[in-house]
Symmetry: C2
């Protein structure tokens, strides 16, 4: 099966499971907690979870799917809280939870999803011992995500963020939840410790590369294509890998922190391309994917392993 | 050992364990997460956890103390988020986390403690199966607490809150975490299912009664004694059991929603006492404690059982 079809099928499955778990909210708070969760999303974390589980034990993901939902629910909890912190009004084409219900209810809605994430892992049909390890990993991951978000916010007041600091931030903010998705799939399917570790590292790397690709898309993709404001990171002076690489090459991006016309964005892209900034950033992301894919050598040759390879490259080949 | 000495000893133990777990914060976010946790507190939930554990299996609490900390950490996570929602500036005589670090960091600080709570349960030295049950109970409890806080906030816009709604709210907002503290102690010490259930109900009842006593203290205790603003609930028109009982008895408290002198508060208390409001509310709390204590019949006669009885009465006999 091709990756695209696999992702579509998983998204449908996840949506239907979420519907059966939470489709009948009894309270206003449950409605607020459901809002973003039911507003779509690519459901990439459950897909990664399933692939990792079935790669180590064919067919095993079916029994443990509640844990796959747990990772999607965790992701949505972090988005609700992030949107409050970042004062974002829209997400997935819908108004954000705090915009609709107010900040206090949005804090609680995120907290409700946080609880549900742990409830769901407990519901997986798996031996108790790996379940406890999976729960401990999810808890550690949530703490890392908080650290990543805090670092990201602290970067807004700095001009001197280093490459290593940036990579640590994206790994924590985005990578570790992909790492956990893969590792928890392996754990609950009773893979070996080296498989758990390798798949965790694979997930962290493709997640971090995903974020770098997001930064590239922000600069390169037209608003028509991405649905987002082109070059907003540059205008806002955000410390992305593009900005950091430019600084390393002696390019001052501060003059570009202002409203930019399409032509100006085009000439900015040309300049960054000529100076080798774009290719350097693309290279970094590609190296992460290459390294992630190499780590899959702990897996036997299965359809799922091939899909994991495809998924890794998809993370940096998508253009919106 | 008397209850007071037991609570003092447990608080010291909890403070020292927290120090060894989190005493050396490496990041600004960890500092924010530690702030309230290290600002004291009575540590009643770990004390209840220990008593319940040792009541079913003497000496067992020592092995599972991380889970006792988990309940204190959970409590502190909810306080940090509640303080943001309620815009409170002080707690435990110190500035609140959001006042010192800002709301975004305070949301994250609460989220970090939330993660730590689940990490800590995983660290308890207990069989895996009850551990998973304990984690599932903690997750359910966190969801209940969120519902309770949401109900409490929604009551602010209502004048018609019923006795049952109030009791459901305080049970969720305050009771269930005491219920979990006791039940998780029993679970991890491998008590019977009927002991788990009885101790959960015991904790829910004494926790709800604790909240009712808080409402009584708000009205009856002088500011000198309680350190809080006397009769603030009445002035703010809060739907407490006192306000609900008064309404049931045809007493209109709306004229008292204004700054009140000491003499006015004294005559308000006299009036509510004469009309039987105070005794009715005290009665309700006493009945809850009586019922909670009756539930302890599932326990053998031990020092810990006696302390659990004392603890229950202490919850409504404290006067500040």
């Amino acid at each position: 099966m091709e990756l695209e079809a696999y992702l579509k099928k998983t998204a449908d499955e996840v949506n239907s499971l979420l519907q059966s778990c939470y489709g009948d909210p009894k309270t206003a708070l449950s409605q607020a907690a459901n809002h973003l969760l039911f507003a779509g999303g690519k459901r990439l974390r459950p897909a990664l979870f399933k692939l990792a589980a079935d790669a180590v034990r064919p067919g095993s993901s079916k029994m443990i799917m509640p844990a796959g939902l747990s990772l999607e629910v965790t992701h949505n909890f972090t988005l609700i809280h992030d949107d409050i912190m970042d004062k974002d009004e829209y997400r997935r084409g819908q108004k954000t939870v705090h915009t609709l219900w107010g900040e206090p209810a949005a804090i609680l809605a995120g907290d409700v999803l946080y609880a549900r994430a742990f409830s769901l892992i407990c519901q997986a049909d798996a031996p108790e011992s790996p379940k406890v390890r999976a729960i401990a990993l999810l808890a550690k991951t949530c703490e890392d995500i908080c650290e990543g978000q805090q670092q990201d916010m602290s970067f807004e007041e700095r001009e001197d963020v280093s490459r290593d600091e940036y990579l640590e931030m994206v790994t924590k903010k985005t990578g570790v939840l992909y790492g956990s998705a893969a590792a928890i799939g392996v754990l609950l399917s009773q893979g070996t410790d080296s498989q758990v570790e390798a798949l965790y590292n694979y997930g962290c790397k493709i997640g971090a590369a995903f974020q770098i690709q997001d930064d590239l898309i922000d600069l390169m993709a037209s608003s028509e294509k991405s649905g987002k404001d082109q070059a907003s990171d540059i205008r806002e002076g955000k410390q992305t890998l593009i900005a950091i690489t430019a600084r390393e090459k002696g390019i001052d991006l501060k003059p570009w922190r202002r409203p930019l016309s399409k032509d100006e964005i085009a000439s900015l892209i040309s300049m960054l391309t000529e100076k080798g900034v774009i290719s350097s950033v693309q290279n970094e992301a590609e190296q992460m994917i290459t390294s992630a894919v190499e780590g899959l050598s702990v897996l036997q040759d299965t359809v799922e392993k091939h899909l994991l390879v495809e998924l890794a490259w998809f993370f940096i080949r998508r253009d919106y």
